[in-house]
């Protein structure tokens, strides 16, 4: 197992080299120039050139690329042009919030989706199943920004149960403050999980080994918990894996509305300012996270289903 993990981590290297190349090249064709962003439209060409020199943007491309590789290897991922801080320091400030949303929303998703998936599968074809499906399809269809504002207006501004946004100090305060944003992200994850888990459960319930287990004399609950549920969770695990990779950089709208300083808004702000080192550094960092998430997903497969071997 450990060997397999090490092997997978080694495979990161070619993936990352590819990512750095693509990330670097894409930025070269992106219009807009950080110097004119920083100095405004009124700067003279000489001043702009001087600023680019200061930031090393006048170097040949391959030299800039090698500097970038060096920064990735040394772990700083480059230094932000505007913040004047290593990219890794910017990431470190925001990573806890992003990981917090990832974990929190996934937990909420499981708490919401599991019972309803099980209920729908056991009562398949009935009015209960239909009603559950309607609700979860509606959840998939709901645009997150809309749900954000509905929750803010209702639970924060109306009832006063939660703050309307922002983060606090420490874990306990943030469990409270991040509830609404995590709920928005979690509900759309829940909608995805519920649909696929219900289908998987129904398939598994029809399997021969389930009949065998029943014939052995196990009770309904024992059959369900020991045989049906674990065998149906594979699809759920892959959905969570894909969702987690997406949530890490893709929840900008939720972050902006709830004023959560996450990695997604760091990336968007960097793109707007043309802070090239931050965009590049974050691209590589996201790639590393996605590979790690995929690895964890594969390990979870193996744990859930002994037939799956890590290779």
């Amino acid at each position: 197992m450990i060997q397999v993990i090490l092997k997978r981590l080694l495979m990161l290297i070619p993936v990352l080299i590819g990512i750095t190349l693509i990330g670097f090249m894409l930025l070269q064709v992106m219009p807009g120039d950080p110097a004119s962003r920083a100095m405004g439209t009124r700067a003279s060409p000489e001043e702009l050139a001087a600023m680019r020199r200061l930031w090393g943007l006048d170097q040949p491309l391959w030299v800039q690329y090698l500097y970038f590789l060096r920064d990735c290897v040394t772990g700083s991922f480059g230094v932000s042009i505007f913040h004047k801080v290593p990219v890794i320091a910017l990431v470190a400030e925001r990573l806890p919030f992003t990981l917090g949303i990832v974990a929190y929303s996934t937990l909420i998703a499981l708490v919401v989706a599991l019972p309803f998936a099980i209920l729908a599968a056991l009562k398949r074809g009935t009015a209960v199943d239909g009603a559950i499906r309607q609700v979860f399809v509606a959840l998939i269809a709901m645009p997150p920004f809309w749900l954000c504002y509905v929750l803010i207006l209702w639970l924060a501004l109306g009832q006063g149960w939660f703050p309307t946004g922002g983060v606090g100090q420490g874990v306990v305060q943030n469990i409270y403050r991040l509830f609404l944003p995590a709920l928005v992200v979690g509900l759309s994850t829940a909608a995805l999980i519920q649909q696929s888990l219900r289908a998987a459960l129904i398939d598994t319930l029809k399997a021969d080994y389930v009949d065998t287990a029943r014939a052995k004399g196990l009770t309904g609950a024992q059959v369900f918990l020991r045989h049906v549920l674990p065998n149906s969770l594979i699809s759920t695990i892959s959905i969570i894996g894909v969702r987690v990779s997406w949530i890490i950089g893709g929840t900008v709208v939720v972050e902006k509305i709830f004023s959560v300083p996450g990695l997604g808004s760091l990336l968007i702000d960097a793109i707007v300012a043309r802070d090239l080192p931050v965009i590049r550094g974050l691209t590589v960092f996201f790639a590393i996270l996605v590979v790690i998430v995929n690895l964890i997903t594969d390990i979870c497969y193996a744990l859930a289903d002994p037939r799956v071997r890590l290779e």
Partner: protein, 501 residues
């Protein structure tokens, strides 16, 4: 832990809580920008500049009207008749660590602002040398008369920093900066908030009135308003203009607005055949119903523009915007040889809703006089590089002034050749160029004012732009907040703000 220390701790924490509850009065402001750095020479974004101006002082600073300068760290000053020397007498001020502000600190800070590392070097390079007769006086020398140099000292980039500390700490200084301004940085959580406490050594005795100020970064405009309504902040900057009316009607909330130094217009490339004709350009100006535009696009929060110059010092209150007169526009077009109008393409920044809406309104208004406008949506950077290269016909744009002196912006939008060839319209007027060269060497006063007024009149008549509007900047606050306002320079001061609950 022994019982004794536990009790001591308990007592201490109770006491500190009590002390905290009794005195600390905090003003919370929701702003839309996330500051990137507190180094004044390295930044150009609003969030950074606004925060710096709360922590650092400048020698002189714009007064509340934004039209003239008032004393800052300098108590008084004199400018020599030839405009070559500026002498400052510094007040008895201290940095937030208790060390005095000296002439050496001033010299160091201005030299740093003029250095290669500075984004604002061109503003300070005209100052060529310094004399320091004693720690409370500094004399600045210029090689040639350059009137705007004095005004530039009021800009954030010329903030006075403690020399010894910046030299010792380098870039790290700006993570925990020490300034002589009303507030001191207590904690900066990037992307979330800036927490400030009052500077005990601030030179305006008894100020600031509040003990603490928190700038919360809330980039989503609607979220800032919601935070204000929920009572999580006391002031919300830049609420969405379409929510202002509704906000004004809410109990406990008041709003305010100011016209900052900004003018919105359409750049007309005078190298493109129809637009090279002055009559055509004037016709386009007559064809625009500015009050409808302001009502429809800005929700009434703005003023019509008479030229590409913001409403600022030396502006001519008698200069009227082009009136809405489609008949006259048609007549002028016919006179110029375009009785059936013409076609033109206009570049528009796709990222800003107001710009998109304005573009669509302009398209409809110009169609009334036969001018068919094709709208080309572009990313901001591409729009800028395209106009700069001259590969355009029209471009919807705006200009803002960094300083309170109109020299900077008129050089940019009206003078050719200068920085931008009249903002890439390639329009040229020799008389205006002459006046520009003179104005820069004329001491501040009515004579210099008359030069600006003449230049602006020439710019108005020559019409290398379609002049549109000066959009307002608004804020909303709880009614217990007294003394808060956004200045025409678009920043805000907090030392006079009180909370009267």
């Amino acid at each position: 832990m022994t019982r004794l220390t536990f009790r001591a701790l308990l007592l201490a924490s109770t006491l500190s809580c009590a002390a905290f509850g009794a005195q600390a009065e905090t003003l919370r402001v929701a702003m839309g920008y996330d500051p990137v750095s507190l180094d004044p020479i390295a930044t150009s974004d609003n969030g950074s500049i606004w925060t710096q101006l709360l922590i650092f002082d400048t020698l002189v600073r714009p007064d509340a009207s934004g039209e003239k300068l008032e004393p800052g760290l300098a108590e008084s000053w004199t400018v020599s008749d030839d405009g070559l020397t500026i002498s400052f007498a510094l007040r008895d001020a201290k940095f937030s660590d208790g060390t005095p502000v000296t002439a050496e600190d001033v010299k160091f800070s201005i030299e740093r602002a003029a250095s290669k590392e500075s984004s604002w070097g061109r503003f300070y390079r005209p100052i060529t040398s310094f004399d320091i007769p004693d720690p409370h006086h500094i004399v600045m020398h210029l090689a040639q008369p350059f009137t705007p140099a004095f005004n530039n000292l009021a800009l954030f980039a010329a903030a006075i920093l403690p020399k010894a500390q910046v030299e010792a700490k380098g870039a790290a200084f700006f993570d925990a900066p020490v300034g002589s301004g009303p507030f001191v940085l207590r904690q900066w959580t990037r992307g979330a908030s800036i927490e400030l406490t009052k500077n005990p050594y601030y030179w305006q005795k008894g100020k600031p009135a509040v003990d603490e100020a928190v700038l919360e970064v809330v980039t989503e405009p609607s979220a800032r308003v919601i935070k204000l309504e929920a009572g999580e902040v006391d002031v919300a900057l830049d609420p969405p203009l379409n929510q202002l009316k509704e906000l004004k009607a809410k109990p406990g909330i008041t709003t305010g607005e100011v016209i900052p130094y900004r003018a919105d217009f359409v750049q007309l490339n005078t190298r493109y055949a129809p637009l090279g004709n002055e009559k055509v350009r004037q016709a386009l100006n007559y064809a625009i119903d500015k009050s409808a535009l302001i009502k429809g696009v800005l929700y009434g929060e703005g003023k019509p523009a008479a030229s590409a110059m913001p409403v600022m010092a030396y502006a001519d209150p008698d200069l009227k915007p082009y009136p809405y007169d489609p008949a006259k526009a048609k007549a002028l077009l016919a006179e110029a040889g375009y009785p059936d109008g013409f076609e033109a393409e206009m570049l528009v920044n796709s990222g800003i809703a107001t710009q998109r809406n304005t573009a669509i309104a302009l398209q409809a208004m110009l169609a009334q006089v036969g001018v068919k406008l094709k709208i080309q949506m572009l990313e901001n950077g591409t729009q800028w590089s395209t106009t700069k290269a001259g590969n355009y016909q029209m471009s919807l744009s705006y200009a803002t002034s960094d300083t309170i002196d109109p020299d900077q912006i008129i050089g940019f939008v009206a003078v050719n050749p200068e920085r931008a060839n009249a903002y890439h319209t390639e329009w040229k007027n020799e008389r205006l160029n002459e006046l520009y060269a003179q104005e820069r060497q004329t001491v501040n006063g009515p004579e210099r004012g008359a030069m600006f007024r003449e230049m602006i009149q020439i710019l108005h008549d020559g019409a290398p732009f379609i002049y549109l509007y000066h959009p307002a900047t608004a804020w909303a606050e709880k009614d217990y907040v007294k003394g808060f306002s956004v200045l025409p320079t678009s920043n805000f001061r907090l030392e006079d703000v009180t909370i009267q609950k």
